[in-house]
């Protein structure tokens, strides 16, 4: 523990200052915090999902599962920090299409982008917030990645302040990101491309959650438990009949 702290400090002098503060940096180094949230729709996006993360020191593992967003269009997804660590009221009046909530409208709630949940080993910092080429581009997807975050981000996550936001809403139902209004984050993109679609405030879990439903699940739902027996029997019948036929032919020929 001492060693890792020392190494981390050596590797990144900036951390030294933080390490000096006893509680925070000290504690998160060895501690894994498990975070979860369901993702609820904003802007009537029609989507849903969940996010599950484990943070140990500066290492973040996160899995995001999303359903029902606009298909074939990139969905920028981030962990926001620095706001009230919550999602805005979905009915809040925003500055977007017919009162839609735009990303900056709710910045007091979820804060700024601090982690970009990109794929393809792309940058995960806020600098990649609109790296559209490396975000999921399906309406339904599962995203999973492990990466490192800066110390202050790690601390924010450990404190349960992170908010997962998935962006991209087709307000007018045209099937793509378009419309008059340009994005409040990048004026070369339609606002639809960056308006928030799903939001969930990461909450500390009450247990170390078992992995997926796979082993817990083994869902032995009975039903065809005799499949093997029946198949084996069928195989025997087929083999026997085949051998019989072959043998008869052989005898006939000889």
């Amino acid at each position: 523990m001492k060693v890792t702290t020392a190494l981390a400090a050596l590797a990144a002098p900036a951390i030294l200052a933080v390490s000096a503060a006893p509680a925070t940096a000290h504690d998160i180094e060895n501690e894994t915090v498990e975070l979860m949230t369901s993702l609820d729709e904003l802007n009537d996006s029609g989507g849903s999902g969940e996010a599950w993360a484990k943070v140990t020191g500066n290492e973040v593992w996160i899995k995001v599962e999303v359903q029902g967003l606009l298909d074939g269009a990139p969905h920028a997804q981030h962990i926001h920090l620095g706001g009230a660590a919550e999602c805005p009221d979905p009915s809040m009046m925003g500055s977007g299409y017919e009162g839609a909530i735009r990303t900056t409208d709710a910045i007091d709630s979820y804060g700024e982008v601090r982690v970009s949940l990109t794929g393809n080993d792309a940058d995960t910092s806020e600098a990649a917030a609109l790296d559209v080429a490396n975000f999921p581009a399906d309406g339904t997807y599962t995203y999973e990645r492990t990466f490192e975050v800066p110390q202050d981000v790690a601390e924010g996550l450990h404190h349960g302040d992170g908010v997962v936001v998935v962006h991209g809403v087709d307000h007018d139902g045209s099937g793509e990101y378009d419309g008059e209004q340009m994005s409040d984050l990048d004026d070369s993109l339609p606002s639809e491309a960056t308006d928030p679609a799903l939001c969930g405030a990461l909450q500390e879990g009450q247990m170390s959650a078992p992995g997926g439903g796979v082993a817990t699940g083994g869902g032995s739902t009975g039903g065809l438990e005799n499949t093997g027996l029946i198949a084996g029997g069928a195989l025997l019948v087929a083999a026997g009949a085949g051998a019989f036929a072959l043998n008869q032919r052989r005898r006939a020929e000889s």
């Binding site: 369901s38 170390s208 997926g212 439903g213 817990t216 005799n226 043998n247």
Partner: protein, 261 residues
């Protein structure tokens, strides 16, 4: 093909006999397989998940008067089963925060490990043993002598603590014999499950949602995610089934909420 070997005839007869035998055995095996085929365990109807925890039938509102009142010797949940001893009842009522009629939730309890689960509507009574996570992060499942007993995930809250208490059990065993949670999918909103704790208290949970999930669509956060009050998750878990068993792909998960403890 017409090599003129001596003994060809006799070997032919033998082979024919073997072939016929194989067919006969095969037919018998199929017959046994079909005859002993077991019925599917029950499934929840397609959409049972609508009920909100607070709106489940006979919810906390119904129970609250009992709870807030003085030492009620027995409530429906208890008397319906053979609760061992009445000490659970006595202790169950002297909790520190029972006098909160305005609060729609029951007060959470201090930790105490679960020892038995009872689900009257499907005639389940099972002792509980603790299980943890396997190396790969998945939940261990009951095995050996305790294969047919339900188990408590010891990383989850104890029953009555805030959070989801996780209890798992097999649907079937080797050969498709019914195991402890075979009928889990038959539970419906409003049914109850009782969990007895080491300290003698019994916590009653009321079902508000029953779902079936494909293993690859398991809603981790719904099932294991944090909750504001004491809840219970009853989960079917896999046995040692052949990879070839293509039909065993669903998990039944029952969501329940503490109504009495």
């Amino acid at each position: 093909m017409s090599t003129d070997q001596p003994g060809q005839g006799r070997r032919g007869v033998l082979l024919t006999a073997l072939a016929v035998l194989a067919v006969l055995v095969g037919v018998v095996v199929i017959a046994v397989g079909v005859a002993t085929q077991r019925p599917d365990p029950p499934s929840p109807p397609a959409a049972t998940s609508a009920a909100e925890p607070t709106e489940a039938t006979g919810g906390p509102e119904d129970e609250q008067p009992d709870e807030a009142g003085s030492d009620d010797p027995a409530d429906d949940g208890q008397s319906a089963t053979s609760a061992p001893g009445s000490s659970a009842q006595d202790e169950g009522q002297d909790g520190q925060e029972t006098e909160q009629p305005a609060e729609p939730e029951v007060a959470a309890l201090d930790p105490s490990e679960p020892v038995e689960v009872r689900i009257p509507s499907i005639d389940v009574v099972s002792p509980l043993h603790p299980l943890g996570l396997a190396e790969d992060g998945t939940l261990e499942v009951p095995s050996g002598d305790r294969y047919d007993e339900a188990a408590w995930y010891d990383g989850s809250p104890t029953p009555g603590e805030v959070g989801p208490t996780v209890i798992e059990g097999h649907v079937t065993g080797a050969g498709g014999v019914e195991s402890v949670f075979f009928d889990l999918g038959a539970l419906r909103a409003g049914d109850t499950a009782e969990v007895e704790r080491e300290d003698g208290r019994t916590v009653t949970f009321e079902v508000y949602r029953v779902d079936q999930f494909a293993k690859d669509a398991f809603p981790t956060v719904d099932v294991y995610g944090p909750t504001d009050s004491p809840e219970l998750r009853l989960i079917t878990c896999g046995g040692e089934f052949d990879e070839a068993e293509q039909s065993h792909e669903d998990n039944t998960v029952v969501y329940a909420r503490m109504v009495e403890g």
